[in-house]
Symmetry: C2
Subunit: 659 residues, 2 copies
């Protein structure tokens, strides 16, 4: 069965462009401030095909195009017959606004990712200049052009309809990404729809992020999808019937978690739903706002994915979308650290999935991005954002000037990732160079930023002088990225993480890393307590998905406000689904030690109550059950090691391993 | 008055994309085989503005956008008030399918090309990272978005309507680019329109390049523009009335030429009309087919322009469109020599217009294109097309393998142009490098390709060995590009140009260069004879514009055929307007010797009959009248020298200079 093919990465660049430019707030389009790359406008696709007898070839273009058969240009808008024998087939395709793509089906062959793609090649040329393999997903329907791709949708029930002044309030009973259909509307009679993640938002036409006015031209109106739990419909004459579907990427819920504490179970399940809603073609930060792809947010979503849906494709799509095109105009999302997280995502991808082919496919793009990053190196080899780069790390009261410790640590991890990728992609010399550069930087960081007196890493070095400021961020990263050999780890725990004088982390974004650092330093119970308080707190307030931010000290509608607007807080935010990762990685305790779980460890939390769950891998599932401090592991995978303290035991496949 | 502004070059890239992808042949879209670049999808525009009192600012976006005023993001879809004082204004604009552009008008300031543009900059940032000045033309109407720009049109009279089977045949009496309006059409009744540059084409629905079927939805239908002299309209019920406008770039006919031979006068005027129809936003090859921008063709159009319309803007637009975006994927039109002509166009532009600012604006793009060209250098420093480059030179029976002499000469001229441009753009060291490289190449060409025995330049060197093939092309270029010091010029004339054993030039494209070479070598009468025979021959056959190709030996409809199709020959082709240049440059004899005619020469043909004409310059016109071997020159320009043989006389401004 033939697939639609395009220039590798074009599908992602095009749909990323579409979503990036579709943010609308209170009726006005809001474009991102980083460069939006686009797909090609034209491309060629070629393959040498050998057939035993003549075949009829059916071709459909997304755009316009023609076929060059053995150097001879021909139209192929109707079926053409390819004679028996060996032939060079090259499709030239252009699309002024969408993705130049082709679907072609013969009897024994069809377009797929084994075809090559190129740009600006004389179509009579041979296949030698073609750049790379074409891009493809499993899009096989010639009637559905890749430019028009829409996520599938499933019906969603309306839980209640309540009359309100001037109309009615629809409640789906939970957060959804709803496409509404209005049936039996009065043509010519205006309607207003106010979407809300909360009732107060839906009740405020002025402040709701999304409120639209329409005047139906016919009785039936299909509206675009939007994030909401509630929709208030207003008008002189309401539609007879409103139905809705919820757009949802089909994902298998391979991972699971349940605890003797039902709230922890509910937290995991609500996290999974939150993540699922934010899993569209790419990982979004939030489905109501921004609805954009942010590299730091996406990096966390990848980690969650590995313990939940284990869907490689959304990670590949997101990675390609974030990388963008060439020449590179700015850091990913303009943020220095977000470029580094992109590389770290590749390292994790390789570790969890073992999919070397994707690493090879993106290697050239990774290399050019790394070259761009290296332009931020000062004479000492330390990176520092230029004045139009955004040195982010976190929304936090900390020095952002000079060469930040946290940026160096992330840069070091990015270089190490590139060392791995280069090796996988067959560039051994480059791999050695990256690795040596990373090792030198690692040594420098360890010496330059560590303050013996504070027993902690300092925030930054300004004009060669370390600044005596201690913050959690660089110390958390030190624990996670290997800058805290045993003694330093303990001191960081005491002097920073458990030191109330150090300003607390206030965002769920960095809180995930702080919790992970605590788990690494043996404070898993603290992580659980935090999860219970923070996520439990949201559940207590009726959350059906988790929020961009939560401060238990607030009350009422205060929880809904953000960025100076009363209802702008996203109530379905991907980075709020962190417990999926924390539970999978540190309660169930499974993680790969070889690429794609070729080898792996299971080191569950044995003093954190009773719980059970499944960790998905590319080779099958790992089932972990902890009860009264003992553990059962079931899996078909070989290569596993069970760890309890200093003890290590082999995990025997296809048996009940009791530890 | 505020102007629409965009990222420098975006207007050209976008509209070039549009026209490149709008070629339709017999109902099917035909995309180019070279890479189509696109404009930005988003960009920022910034300026520091100082105002004495508060001003109301009105803003319109092509796309969506917002304003960042002194680092504070704000909407500006309604009028906003800017307080008195100094302010940083930054507009962020995005456009998913068109040009991100902004028009903003205060009371004392507005958007124009003094604003800076950038990409991927945090909008709160300062102006330091902005790349360059914004692009702008004189588009000042906030209601007309740059993405929707259309050439103006003027009414065109229908000369006759003749009944034909099933409908009628409209004749405009001359070639036009017509937008038809059908009035009083029968809604629902299908109509067929067959466009023809000739009657036979209009009579052939099957073979006409453009034939469309429409079913009017209402009584009035406005059709897109198309090239034609005739339109056959077919249908059960014809529209009551058909009117048409002809799309035409407004151009002043500053140059002129008239001769005692009325046919030469008519040739010049028909050339001017041919060139004018092909002068759209960019110089097209032909208006019926391909309707594309080809660098070699455009280069000739520039030369014609300087002796006729002297419109800098179309040259700038065409130059930017041809250069395309980054990274460079292929040579311009995939043709090695066409990249070189692009640089030569810059040299001529500087010489004729003296406009240094444009050279500065495109210098970076020129440099990266030159870097791309240099990748074609072999170890000897000779360029050679890679297997996916098109080594064109001309449609001719000549060796195209190895390192072609003609390519080296063009490369040398391109390097010399870059030397000039670098100096103008303030890059002295680079200028020296280019000049030295060109000088070394010039020496090598002069030694390596000259064959003393043949008394001519050889076509190519294959694997270090000169191939004993003599063709006109490299010898013509030798004369034009300074590889034929006196003796060699004479030998080339005798051994090649006037040697019937050397295969003749068959395309009007290279014929222009051959004629120019003959003029340079003192054979102006041959040029005139040729023009009389070739262009006169087309006029004798009723041409209202000149053709892509003309072979006097053909008869009847044979003249209309090309590329295996009976009516595919373009009957309005820019490169057929060459006499404008030949007459201006070699009969009237005016040419700049300093940038922008700061100094110039007039060296008219004094033995070629009586004629008179005007040569436009950026500083005013030069009027030349030749009668009975004597010449009168009138101009307001200083710096002129009149040349007759070895004699040189100053031209006194504002008087009647009689020589």
């Amino acid at each position: 069965m033939a697939k639609w093919i395009w220039y590798y990465g074009d599908f992602e660049l095009y749909h990323h462009r579409e979503l990036s430019l579709s943010r609308v707030e209170r009726g006005k389009g809001m474009p991102p401030f980083w460069k939006i790359y686009d797909c090609h406008r034209n491309a060629e696709f070629g393959k040498t095909v050998e057939i035993m007898k003549p075949e009829r070839l059916r071709t459909v273009f997304d755009g316009i195009g023609y076929l060059t058969l053995d150097g001879e240009r021909m139209r192929c808008d109707k079926e053409v017959t390819i004679p028996a024998g060996q032939h060079s087939l090259i499709f030239s395709v252009a699309n002024a606004a969408g993705i130049p793509a082709v679907w072609a089906q013969g009897e024994t062959f069809g377009t797929d990712e084994t075809w090559l793609c190129g740009e600006g090649i004389r179509s009579a040329g041979n296949l030698s200049k073609f750049d790379t393999n074409a891009g493809a997903w499993d899009l096989c329907d010639p009637e559905e052009r890749p430019s028009d791709y829409q996520l599938p949708a499933e019906p969603v029930e309306i839980k209640s309809v309540t009359p309100v002044e001037g109309g009615e309030l629809i409640d789906f009973g939970k957060e959804v990404y709803a496409r509404l259909t209005l049936e039996g509307a009065d043509p010519g009679v205006p309607l207003t729809l106010v979407y809300g993640e909360s009732i107060p938002e839906a009740m405020s036409e002025e402040h709701a992020v999304r409120s639209i006015k329409i005047t139906p031209e016919s009785g039936n109106v299909e509206l675009k999808g939007a994030a909401c739990r509630y929709v208030r419909v207003l008008g002189e004459q309401l539609p007879e019937k409103i139905t809705a579907v919820c757009e949802l990427l089909p994902l298998e819920k391979r991972g699971s978690f349940s605890s003797e504490d039902p709230q922890l179970t509910k937290i995991w399940n609500t996290c999974e739903y939150t993540l699922h809603l934010n899993s569209r073609l790419f990982y979004l930060d939030g489905i109501k706002r921004d609805g954009w792809v942010w590299s730091g947010d996406a990096y966390q979503s990848y980690l969650l994915n590995y313990y939940c849906h284990f869907d490689k494709d959304i990670i590949k799509r997101t990675t390609l979308a974030l990388r963008g095109g060439d020449p590179i105009a700015c850091h990913i999302n303009t943020i220095l650290d977000y470029s580094f997280f992109w590389f770290m995502g590749l390292r994790d991808y390789l570790g969890y999935t073992g999919d070397r082919s994707f690493i090879c496919e993106v290697y050239d793009r990774a290399k050019t991005l790394m070259e761009y990053c290296m332009l931020r190196e000062g004479p000492e080899g330390l990176v520092q954002g230029l004045d139009y780069d955004w040195t982010f790390i976190d929304w936090a009261d900390m020095r952002k000037d000079g060469a930040l410790c946290a940026e160096q640590m992330l840069y070091c991890a990015a270089l190490e990732s590139m060392g791995l990728c280069a090796e996988v992609a067959g560039h051994h010399e480059e791999a050695v160079q990256y690795a040596e550069k990373a090792a030198a930087l690692r040594k420098k960081i360890t010496e330059l930023y560590w303050d013996e007196e504070a027993g902690a890493y300092l925030t930054t070095v300004v004009k060669g002088e370390p600044v005596k400021e201690v913050r959690r961020h660089q110390n958390i990263l030190a624990v996670l990225l290997g800058f805290a050999a045993e003694d330093r780890g303990k001191r960081i725990l005491a002097n920073v993480l458990e030191n109330e004088d150090i300003p607390p982390i206030t965002t769920p974004y960095f809180k995930l890393y702080e919790m992970e650092a605590l788990c690494r330093l043996g404070r898993t119970e603290e992580m659980i307590s935090w999860v219970q308080a923070y996520w439990g707190g949201m559940l207590d307030l009726g959350a059906t998905t988790f929020w961009e931010e939560f401060d238990p000290r607030m009350s009422g509608d205060e929880h809904l406000a953000m960025y100076g607007e009363p209802y702008d807080k996203s109530l379905c935010h991907a980075w709020a689904a962190g417990p999926i990762y924390l539970f999978g990685r540190y309660l169930l305790g499974a993680a790969p030690t070889g690429e794609g779980y070729s080898t792996f460890e299971v080191q569950p939390a044995l003093n954190a109550g009773d719980f059970a769950g499944v960790v998905p891998t590319p080779r099958g599932d790992i089932k972990v059950e902890v009860k009264e401090g003992r553990c059962i592991v079931r899996t078909s995978l070989s290569g596993g090691v069970f760890i309890r303290g200093e003890e290590r035991y082999p995990i025997i496949p296809d048996t009940e391993n009791r530890f």
